[in-house]
């Protein structure tokens, strides 16, 4: 074996190994942050009490501030978005939700969120969401109740 390996000094091999380790550790960062974004669309009414599985926490939060008692899941969508990439969700009543991650400092994720009705914006907000936590937007009317949109975001 007369390859060049013998002539490569040990320190260089050590350096290369260290470099590869670090490179692999950083590859997610180099590939760009992925914003795992989960949107739950819920119909809340004041009818007979009942909560769909998985909505208990939201029902508790909303129930403590508003008098809604019945929570039904309309849809749920998980998206992996890159920075600046728009995620779209169709809402009942000819509405759309457009959510765009615009940056993160590790502990908080910045999102731009817009709701359109019949193509026209009716609501938009910029929030800094705790990484791994969620925010609830409520208010759009739907059949004797309201639509709740729970948005959860995390970068890992």
């Amino acid at each position: 074996m007369n390859t060049g390996l013998k002539s490569v000094p040990v320190w260089m091999l050590a350096w290369l190994t260290a470099f590869c380790i670090v490179l692999s550790a950083f590859s997610p960062a180099l590939a760009g942050t992925t914003y795992h974004t989960r949107v739950k669309v819920i119909h809340a009414t004041k009818g007979k009490a009942g909560v769909d599985p998985g909505l208990e926490a939201i029902a508790r939060e909303i129930g403590s501030e508003f008098n809604y008692t019945r929570f039904r899941r309309i849809s749920e969508k998980a998206m992996s978005l890159s920075e600046g990439q728009k995620g779209r969700i169709t809402l009942p009543g000819n509405r759309d939700l457009i959510i765009t991650p615009t940056g993160s400092n590790g502990s908080r994720i910045q999102y731009h969120i817009r709701i359109n009705a019949k193509g026209n914006p009716v609501f938009q907000t910029g929030v800094r969401l705790q990484n791994g936590s969620s925010v609830t937007i409520g208010g759009p009317r739907l059949k004797k109740g309201v639509i709740l949109i729970n948005i959860e975001g995390r970068t890992r």
Binding site: E61, S64, S107, V122, S133, V135, I137, G138
Partner: protein, 169 residues
């Protein structure tokens, strides 16, 4: 005033919310100096943000709210990622001056840079893991635009969950 096709309202709203990257932000501001339409839209969005802050505080006095001041910093993450390689380069150069010039000095410096980065990244991961939730509301609301309808921002007392409630007109 002639309408402007160069920037969308959404983009300008994001400029007002400081959600746009530094370069794009500056480019837009330069444009707005000579474009009355864009300058006016930006002023409107900024005013709306201020109106919103005072309006909400008055309206939801009984409910505990947290509406921190609108910050002027660009998203830190975006800057960090973009400058990662530049940063490594700068750090290598900086360390080279410590270890001395020449090939050997530079190699030593690079190796140290790698070790330093590894230490910093491990430290960051440790800081983020566990139940290292930052204190405060689940979401800090930088801006809201409801196009005429009213809005309330609520932070639930126990779990500090943020609820943004708007009533459609």
């Amino acid at each position: 005033m002639t309408p402007c096709n160069r920037y969308t309202k959404e983009f300008i709203s994001r400029v007002a919310d400081n959600e746009v990257r530094q370069e794009a932000h500056s480019v837009f501001l330069r444009h707005a100096k000579t474009c009355a339409a864009c300058a006016e839209t930006l002023a409107d969005f900024r005013q709306m943000g201020q109106l919103f802050s005072s309006h909400t505080e008055a309206e939801v006095g009984r409910i505990r709210t947290e509406l921190p001041p609108i910050t002027v910093t660009a998203p830190q993450g975006a800057q960090n990622r973009k400058g990662l390689w530049g940063w490594i380069g700068r750090m290598g150069q900086g360390l080279a001056s410590v270890f001395g010039r020449g090939a050997m000095g530079l190699k030593l410096a690079s190796l140290s840079a790698v070790a330093l980065i590894l230490a910093v990244s491990l430290y960051t991961w440790q800081g983020d893991s566990g139940n290292g939730m930052v204190p405060g509301p689940s979401a800090i609301v930088n801006s809201v635009d409801t196009y005429g309808s009213s809005v309330m921002i609520i932070e639930t007392p126990e779990s500090h969950h943020t609820i943004i409630w708007f009533s459609e007109t």
